[in-house]
Symmetry: C2
Subunit: 454 residues, 2 copies
């Protein structure tokens, strides 16, 4: 006998789970459509080389690799019995780690069949061999929207509006949309004459929400950054959080860096729009300390935190990437996109009790089974109801009535039909409303009228 258990970090979803998940997914999908995105889908696995080398060292470790089919050791020498030698020889594909890299591959592969700027959304699973914890699984659904082929900063504003519109429709009040530009992190390294420290800087800043501030500072010192640089960095980070008040001081800090001033002007353009056109349910904040862990971002980056009362990591994120399609041979295709993590949103909705209270079971009626002599009639009646758009089922076995009624109650089925000798003789149906307990004797036409209403 085998144990019926799940693979680590994976989940089953029952009908109630799916009802709630689809509630969120449909709102996200509707908003993607409202904002002019159309769907695409890519395969669950890609050739290894499509995925490898895109996510940084830590990301790469988390990619699930698929063994070649058949005898994967055929033609391989025993000398290769070593992880680093063997892995590339016995693996040729891997499960999708995010939706952005496959999207970049898609754009290049289909460049002659798409219209630029190309706007697409993609709602699909991704897989990461991460250590499972609250809100983090090894298989999870991402909901992404991206535009590729335009550098217009109007899109940054549009994505912030999209975040807010989704939260508004989900009725989540008080999310914090943090923005920064990776160009500012580059500029900081430029200003301080340490362009080689960009990697370690983004890497450490990305740990700020999980680690102690002093640990991050010490790590930066250990990696050769001067204490003075670090102090001024954290000063400018604090100033950035009050962008409108401290704009002049921030500009002063970046005055010697062209790329820095350019990024500040982008941020200013964004903030000016939202001081005239307020967000509905969310708050926007600039934070030079925001870095994002993923390597391919080059411009404005986003990260969204749930309302303060909920202790949970980011629920959405995104950013601009200038060179992602270049790896696949297509230059000058700046892209920008965002991603909602369904599981985190689910936890937020659940904690705030924002899911509408409706039965997830769509069955309207159970036809009770009084024995073999009625069976053809029950099947025929069920099909008659279905052809009139009533979700119907019959109980498949003539077991004691009480058990059949229990089945209806446990499944939250609102109506049952009694159809026994008397009903058969009179060609009628005894309909019981399971909530009110009221029973009525009806013919076919009345039955449809009652059941297809409300």
């Amino acid at each position: 006998m085998q144990k019926p258990i799940l693979a680590k970090g994976t989940r089953d979803f029952n009908s109630e789970d799916l009802y709630k998940r689809n509630y969120i997914i449909n709102i996200i999908r509707d908003n993607f459509s409202k904002f002019g995105f159309n769907p695409i889908e890519t395969p669950s696995f890609e050739r290894s080389e499509t995925l490898l080398g895109k996510y940084g060292q830590e990301g790469e470790r988390l990619i699930f690799k698929i063994l070649k089919s058949g005898d994967f050791l055929k033609g391989i020498d025993g000398k290769d019995f070593k992880y680093s030698n063997l892995a590339p020889k016995i693996v040729d594909k891997a499960l999708r780690y995010d939706l952005t890299v496959p999207f970049a591959r898609y754009v290049v592969q289909n460049q002659n069949n798409i219209n630029i700027p190309f706007k697409r959304y993609q709602i699909q699973n991704v897989w990461r061999a991460d250590r499972p914890q609250k809100g983090r699984y090894r298989e999870f659904l991402q909901c992404d929207a991206d535009v590729i082929g335009s550098k217009s900063i109007m899109q940054e504003i549009d994505f912030i509006s999209l975040f807010d519109s989704v939260f508004n429709d989900l009725n989540i009040e008080g999310c914090l949309i943090k923005i920064n530009s990776r160009k500012l992190l580059l500029a900081i390294c430029e200003i301080n004459n340490c362009p080689d420290k960009f990697g370690i800087l983004t890497n450490q800043l990305d740990k700020l929400d999980k680690s102690d501030l002093n640990v991050v500072k010490n790590n930066l010192i250990d990696n050769g950054l001067d204490k003075k640089i670090i102090d001024s960095l954290f000063e400018i980070i604090e100033l950035s959080k009050n962008f409108n008040d401290n704009l002049e001081e921030i500009k002063l800090y970046f005055k010697s860096s062209e790329i820095g001033l350019e990024a500040i002007s982008d941020i200013e353009y964004i903030f000016n729009y939202f001081s005239k056109n307020k967000l509905i349910k969310s708050n926007l904040v600039f934070d030079i300390g925001l870095a994002r862990g993923i390597d391919y971002y080059t411009g404005v980056i986003f990260e969204v935190l749930p309302p303060e009362t909920i202790s949970l990591g980011s629920i959405a994120g995104g950013g601009r990437y200038d060179n992602l399609t270049e790896i696949f041979g297509l230059k000058n295709m700046s892209g920008i996109g965002i991603s909602f993590g369904l599981d985190r949103l689910f936890l937020v909705m659940d904690e705030l009790k924002l899911f509408p209270a409706t039965s997830y079971n769509s069955v309207k009626i159970l036809i009770l089974n009084f024995g073999l002599s009625f069976s053809y009639d029950l099947i025929e009646l069920a099909n008659f109801l279905r052809s009139n758009n009533v979700n119907a089922e019959f109980y498949p076995d003539p077991i004691p009535l009480k058990k059949q009624l229990n089945y209806a109650n446990n499944n939250d089925i609102p109506y049952v039909i009694f159809y026994g000798d008397e009903e058969k003789e009179k060609n009628c149906f005894n309909l019981k409303n399971m909530k009110t307990g009221i029973q009525e004797i009806l013919n076919r036409e009345d039955l449809i009228e009652i059941l297809s209403g409300n």
Copy 2:
């Protein structure tokens, strides 16, 4: 530079593909609901032992295996450098091969939280390392409905009705629903004193639709079946195809086998129903030569062929399985289910030109971009339209007008808005219908009224 190419046997789907695929999926889903099924989902990968040993030798070969994370060779001896030794040590999970085995695992694992009989549908991808060909891919979507926990033959009838109802809603005329019972194949071995030949018999009969009849016969002889037995077998197969006419003769053939007569009586019960209640769009035929390749079937089996004009393998199938949950420790849970293969249905719909002709692009309006000084207004206008349920986008860059209009045409966007100096001054919008070419000067309220209609 990396080549932007797909892994073998996988596909991207663009918006038009998805529009068509979802057209079919939604009809299947609606029918599953009408027939009383609710959705569940299981993870894409399962522990290896959950999947292995369930699909027969040929099936097992096609399962995609996922490498353990990290250094998978850690603690493994160099002596194990051999396929059969190494594979079980470096692999601990595998991609879902079908939806039925994970469903059985789900039922046993959740036996205390589900109501028996348990009806569920599941629409998810499965993966098989098969040789790709027309209508066969390595990742494909299956649409399954199953009932578990009742032996009632009423369900066999219900699933046949479900097939027909789906084909009716898809408007596919003339599918052939073939049925048989695996009990009859058992009975044939029983009658002919060769109970050990059941495996080879089902295996060879399953090849009938692909192989030459004589090849199959010779294979059976080579495997030790007597020529007389084979001749009588193919005689009874031919008789079975005219069930109503040949019922007495068929009964005579099986008269010495209790299980055989039981199965014939089940088939009779099914045929009697459908001679009183005709199928709408499909044809039902009995065929003792139908075997199905999957090991777990024990009772009635189904296979559906597309209309005769289309040369393509089966588009749906299914059957009853009595012992599937037993592997996971739960006895006496007879189940029955069916599965639609989306790709084959897609090919049928495409060949018969049954997809409705509608634009897949849901964007209603493009706001043209006349320069930076209008940009905030364009974003604001787009958001105003969206908040009134109009799918809207602005062009992100102030490129020449002709190119912007080309974008609208190429994307099949029905309306554009001109908003330049004059419009800004007068606080109005110049709306152009891209099909009629008619332009109108409108205020906000009129704009919404026109765009939210039809």
